[in-house]
Amino acid sequence: MATEFAFPDASARSAAAAQEFETEKMSLSMGPSHPSTHGVLRLQMELDGEVLTKCDPVLGYLHRGDEKIAENMTYNQFVPYTDRLDYLAPLANNVAYAIAVERLAKLEVPPRCQAIRLICCELARISSHLMGLGAYGIDVGAWSVFLYSFTEREKLYKLFEELTGARFTTSYTRIGGVSRDVPEGWTDRVNAFCDQFLPILDEILRLLTRNKIFMDRTVGIGVISKEDAIAYGLSGPNARGSGVTLDLRKDRPYCGYEQYEFDVPVGSNGDCYDRYLVRGEEMKQAVRIVKQAIAKFPGGDWYAKDARKIFAPPKDKVLTSMEELIQNFMIVTEGPQIPAGEVYFEAENPKGMLGFYIVSKGGGVPWRMKIRSPSFCNLSILPKVCRGEMISDVVSILGSLDFVMGECDR
């Protein structure tokens, strides 16, 4: 006699289970002081188990009101504030700001000044990416990368100190030039750094590129499509990681970038791993640019000599000549005299496109200055890209976006 088995009804059972184990979404606040937020960012998350259903970034913990401050001081006085935007690449910020004001004043700086600024920008890029890479390694569980990259960054900071007098907050540029010429033998030391850096960089990247744990945590995680990258205004390595060929150094060259040969690395999948690869390659390209710039480092003036109402004359002349003394006095008290008008300049910074929109009514103080910070725009995609990811991947995504809150909150 055949026995009839009564199979339990699966749907009825799951309904019963759902009643018994009633679940609800959990809201979790990550930050503002969390190691992976790289500063003071708070993520207000809504979790279904371990999966994010909502992610709302809360900004403003580092808001200083830089734009308001800029309206109340002369153009040169604002240079130190630009250091504190993306404080991992202050030299690049200085240059972007100086060029924006110079565009408004229709001022051309001599080739030597351009070359100095270009080398500064590229060294800042290496320094910023080294920091980003090291911190990213720690975020996903690889400690040693940080130690290697910090050693290299330290060497760069020695060079920065020699050039600008400060390691961190360089304030190197002035409107119409730079604060001082390069010291004797500095370019040789930069060259020597570049030579020893390339093999070490390969070594650093070898720690991650084929690392099983690193790949598990980054490949296919935090995918940003090409269309999204453009729609959300992503720039820098984050946009290029998604396959957007957007690089202002190539597209709208400034500082004489058109004279040098370099490639723009572009990712194909738009995941965390691609953004990492792009940064690694960008450092190699930066070295390439620096070496070319040093090979044909031009002589001549390092500031715009004819800009008598904008660039303060050298100190020895101020102390010995009446006319230069008056000139210096006027620039310090009234500020560099910039004509009325509107200008918008964006530079390709390590984090992306840093833009300055300056509205001037003439005189030494801007009427309105808006800073378009790449980190702010790069972070705005976070609610979209985090939805549906695991909570542990949020750390991975944050690290791969490589943002700086000093710049985001301004």
Binding site: K68, I230, F345, C377, I381
Partner: protein, 211 residues
Amino acid sequence: MTAPADVTAALQAKFSGITPRPSADHPAINVPNADVVAVLKYLRDEFAFDFLTDVTAIDWAEGTSPRFTVVWHLYSSTTHAYLRVASNCSSDTEPSMPTVVDLWPGANWHERETWDLLGIKFTGHPDLRRILMWDEYPYHPLRKEFPLAGIETALPDLEVAEETKTKVIAAPMVGGPFVASSGEVNPSDAEPRAKDESWNERREKPDEPNV
């Protein structure tokens, strides 16, 4: 694809009221308030200005009319051209502007920031909250009448106040420079602390925030 120089002419043929705007670098246009979304959509679809790099506004100070101008900066990832689009807000006291979040999702945060700092309402914005200042902050600090030194404001956290039924008074922040009392023997008393000590461990917290 049309060269950026022809953009103004092409727009003027299609829309009325578009005037060139003085600019020191990129081409710039003024657009009437009502046509903003249509013009920006047209620019994005027909002229490949696919990249909205920045949205901001200018305050021309109290007493001037129009007082507020909203500025969009467009960039083209294919032709590598910039374009500045500006539009004056019709009201000087309650400025508003249609949102472009539907065209570029990236405009979301830019518009929130403009609302936060300059107080321009973007009509149709899905989530127009403050972004850099805290939600309960009463001012728009980038307006010209707002003093550089700021205005002292209580930091009420509505969430906390609701939960605990207590008034939240922020710790004194106006102090500075930090001072250390000299001659104290106990090191914990010699710690540098904010000059303003309207309340601390020893002195009781006042009931009302002292403004």
